[in-house]
Symmetry: C2
Subunit: 357 residues, 2 copies
């Protein structure tokens, strides 16, 4: 491909957490250097990156120097300040592109975008004040969940409303931030599709995984997910639909609820996704390398797996399980090198390979 | 295990080439930081390491500072100067230990060690001068190969003798270095066992791979190797024999010739080995992580593979094949991030996964 970035080139990654870390390793596997931009000190990705810039997203000089030092820019999270993106984009291409970020940075915009594509979502309503919330509750009913439109993840910035009487407290939790009320969906299980789109428009999906959450955080992903062939096809087509509409380049995580009425899109993440970590031990090319391939203009892999896998997250004190897990055969550990164990913090994960035959 | 090094600890690696690079990535996967010690500038391993020291092996101050900054020391190659090892060992444990290095740094010592263990080797003789070489040729015959006893790799420091008349020229090639004459072995093919031994004495072997060389450099390794069940068992027991005799901790590559008279040990390498690269895409835990596990006092994996694999090296201008290889499904590329392509230089490798069923 004419657009292929040559080995030896440098890929800039915004964000130095575990996703940046695993992207950095994947980039190195293809001969690329990485440069991490991260406001926090001692980022996990820095331990496996060629270079790290520690600076804030409003540090124009640092952003410019970062952009000038790399060939292309990608990111490990979607909540990058718009001004930083504006500045970076003047210097180097950002992949996935701005449209994907615009849509995914705002839950309301995202839901509207999905509806326009003809995809099903949970019922939702824009909420700006208490009257608006009460109207929304009338329309959607309870239980429902109030979420800030922007900058939420892993259950943060969310309040559950069991009855209309919870309205005032829930709104207070939003601390004045523009919010969206979402109705609950009656689903049997959640699956996600890790989809990728190349610079040439080629789309490839990994097999959908089935997700189980605990305390609002992903607990396990099991491959293959319980899906009928028709549902599996639906999931893949729907993901491709989203990627094509955004002229997307890179890997995207698409979370879906499986219901009697079909698949309902829960949310999309314009980046590698926790529910795709199983690919590290299930496929020749994992989601991290798939993302780097797309961003670097390389051909994608087809997403076929050689093994079934169950991925499980290690959260906080789950790290105490490491010595025992290390003794288990067919278990591949992936630890993130985070200095401090904290409750609710993702410290690592492991993939249990299910041997065939 | 009481001796398990905790995630967050630092593993020091002597040597910053591709083996150090892949060891560094494996260490990071278990949550370890790595510190590379390498005399050459811009080592490939430095791109994925937490820290790099660029210094010579006779720089006592740099060696001491390096040792003090790490919890345990390992290495990617066996030809580390003895004085450097002496100094390092005063500060931190070196794994695999000195005995393995003593034996493998000298072809004559290695052959004698193997013979003492009752293992078969090619016929060999110590050569110190022309008379000695002539005596050796009388005993061993031609064709034969003259090798320096120390510091040879990938066919360097070797001269082939087709007739006794080649003696003088071959000896001149050794440039006065103590040498060993080795007879040729009539073998059908070469296999290697990537064996590991834990700090607790546990031994685990990956399935033997079959090696094909080109121009004295490994070209491909194919898993599984053509071996009868009895030969396979022999290969594993023989490798375990070597590891136990050395009270070895880490991964070792054992190259074997398959002959009508049984398995003959070609050479041993006290480190991860090119012929074990297939494990990256064939096993839950690859040879690099297996080595780090051993060095860090962790339990070993059992070495079972989930897929058959063919590994092929990318030497020099083979890098031109990368765009085409990237398009092939089931091919996993591993490039080393070396700045300059040179003839005969190992630039990367790829693993072709053979899908089962």
């Amino acid at each position: 491909m004419a657009d292929m970035l040559n080995p030896g080139a440098t890929i800039g990654i915004l964000g130095g957490g575990q996703l940046g870390r695993m992207l950095s390793v994947a980039a190195a596997r293809l001969g690329f250097k990485t440069h991490i931009f991260e406001p926090g000190a001692n980022p996990p990705a820095g331990q496996v990156a060629d270079r790290v810039t520690t600076a804030a997203y409003d540090d124009a000089e640092a952003l410019k120097a970062f952009a000038d030092s790399v060939d292309v820019i990608t990111y490990e999270f979607e909540n990058i300040p718009t001004q930083a993106l504006d500045l970076l984009e003047e210097h180097r291409p950002i992949r996935p592109g701005r449209e994907a970020l615009r849509v995914s940075q705002d839950r309301l915009t995202e839901k509207a975008f999905l509806q326009e594509l003809g995809l099903k979502t949970a019922p939702f309503a824009d909420v700006t004040n208490l009257d608006g919330l009460r109207d929304a509750l009338d329309a959607i009913g309870t239980p429902a969940i109030l979420k800030t439109r922007r900058f939420g993840y892993d259950g943060k910035g969310q309040a559950r409303l069991n009855t209309p009487e919870d309205a005032e407290a829930a709104l207070a939790d939003m601390a004045g931030a523009p919010s969206i009320l979402e109705g609950f969906v009656d689903f049997t299980h959640e699956v996600s599709v890790i989809a990728a789109r190349g610079i040439d428009g080629q789309v490839a999906c990994f097999d959908p995984g089935e997700n189980v959450h605990r305390d609002g955080i992903l607990h396990t992903t099991t491959i293959p997910a319980r899906l009928s062939p028709a549902q599996r096809m639906d999931a893949v087509l729907l993901a491709a639909n989203i990627l094509n509409a955004l002229d997307y380049v890179g890997v995207m995580g698409v979370e879906l609820f499986v219901t009697a009425q079909g698949l309902i899109v829960n949310e999309v993440a314009p980046r590698v996704h926790n529910s795709g970590h199983w690919t590290q031990n299930g496929c020749a090319v994992d989601q991290f390398e798939q993302h780097i391939r797309a961003v670097a203009g390389w051909p994608l892999c087809d997403g076929q797996r050689h093994s079934d896998v169950v991925m499980e997250n290690l959260i906080g004190s789950d790290m105490d399980r490491v010595p025992e897990l290390a003794r288990e055969q067919d278990v591949a550990l992936h630890l993130y090198g985070k200095a401090e164990v904290k409750a609710g913090r993702k410290m690592g994960h492991f993939n249990r390979i299910v041997r065939k035959g």
